[in-house]
Symmetry: C2
DNA sequence: TCAAAAGTGTTACGCTTACACCCATGG
DNA sequence: CCATGGGTGTAAGCGTAACACTTTTGA
């Protein structure tokens, strides 16, 4: 390792940016906030902010998440799990191209959060506006119009969003993470519609049902039933302890 | 996003640390260097160093890798691939606990590099010593003796190493990444021994052969053969263009 | 009574596994 | 000639895909 020289290291700002995903009316959506100042004033951006002086990266991400959504994040790497009234939160990747922020050298540690459908983005302590935007829309804009379009996300946030969506899409294949998009109690059909929204495909309801109920520890029946989706009453389940899905859920091609 | 205040952001040092993995005599090994100064003086650590003022994170990692090993890294995310006489390099994760370096606030963007068996760790421009250490040894020490043992890795490097090894172990399941551990031309048996060393298991040579040769685009025969492993001459292959292995290579349990 | 969603049964097919067997070389 | 590793053939078993069919509700 090159010798440290505490007096000569180049100073960086370190931020966290959040890709907060949820499923709303059959579409995968992400939380974006309107920028109130330059650069990229008036453009949409991922929520985020500076890491504080004495704060761990995951803690900063959880704090930002709570500020923006009121969610209490469940951090799998935390010593003891917080009461799980909240979202899944994990580190995604770190972005630090020298010119990604025109004002100064900023390294952003992006995090990925998965949340159940929330009532509405609360305006938050800050006065800026926020909304849930379908990710297809945002990514299509970035591809079609380029990053200079006024509808495109600020900074390199289109890339970060794209990486976050890809992570979520692949991770629900082999883990029980899709349950993070569901309320505490949910039906097999609701869980299936999550997969369908995240992957953008249709799944066979019968085979899906067998797959998830046949995997030990994935789903735990609560005993209750619901008809909130119409049709025959469906059993309610809670997410089981199993976090890995083996063999994985197969994502149909095309 | 909280408003930026360029004059008030908390300053961080940003470094890259490298988990460089290779397979040497049937064991997964990683490159460690001896620390010449406090803290953790005399302890082994992962190679790494400061990110420069105008340098991207991946570029910093590639530079450190070249300094330590002479390898020219192949960065999949680079605009144009560099001539692939070198290793696979990818970002692993970022570590930024407030007290991870006792002297100052340091955020380290860890990278994972996979390299073919190299002649020997060159002493490098720096005068410190370096060696290839079997990862089992290092991780066992961390588990058994704790991080204060004089044989344990410095800082949180045991955690970083553990995460890197886990990434490599899972990624060779569904990608052609294991070929990064092999020389440019290699046999099916050599590739199988890579899987066996990384996973610490035995694989059936016959079924392995069928699996890798039957996956289109994974291996390309060069026409040559070799008997360097003894026995019947084996066909030589180069890594094909396919980067994803579908269906994945199954890792036998225990 | 009908539409809609939840579930169960059944068959065909693909892939993995386990193992028998043959091939080509060096010592 | 025999040990060593390379490579092919084959049958059993598991898991998925596809789809026919029954169940239970609300409108």
């Amino acid at each position: 390792m090159s010798p440290y020289d505490p007096s000569a290291f180049p100073p960086f700002a370190v931020t966290v940016d959040l890709v907060v995903l949820t499923v709303r009316s059959h579409a995968l959506c992400t939380l974006v906030v309107r920028r109130g100042e330059a650069p990229f004033q008036g453009r949409w951006a991922l929520p985020g902010g500076f890491v504080r002086d004495d704060e761990d990266l995951g803690a900063a991400a959880a704090r930002e998440l709570a500020e923006e959504t009121g969610l209490c994040a469940h951090d799998p790497s935390a010593p003891q799990p917080v009461p799980d009234n909240g979202a899944h939160l994990e580190q995604l990747a770190t972005y630090g191209a020298p010119e990604r922020d025109p004002r100064m050298r900023v390294v952003s540690v992006a995090h990925l959060a998965l949340a159940p459908d929330l009532p509405a983005p609360r305006p938050g302590g800050d006065a800026h506006s926020a909304r849930w935007a379908p990710v297809e829309e945002l990514l299509d804009q970035a591809r079609a119009a380029g990053s200079d379009s006024p509808d495109a996300l600020a900074f390199d946030h289109a890339q970060i969003l794209s990486d976050g969506v890809e992570r979520a899409r692949s991770k629900i294949e082999y883990s029980s993470l899709a349950t993070a998009f569901c309320p505490p109690e949910f039906t097999v059909g609701e869980l299936r519609r999550v997969y369908e929204a995240v992957w953008g495909v249709s799944l066979d309801p019968r085979n899906f049902h067998r797959k998830v109920t046949g995997t030990p520890g994935f789903l735990v029946p609560t005993g209750g039933t619901t008809t909130r989706q119409g049709g025959r009453p469906a059993q309610l389940f809670r997410a089981g302890g199993a976090t890995l899905l083996n063999p994985p859920m197969l994502r149909p091609e095309v």
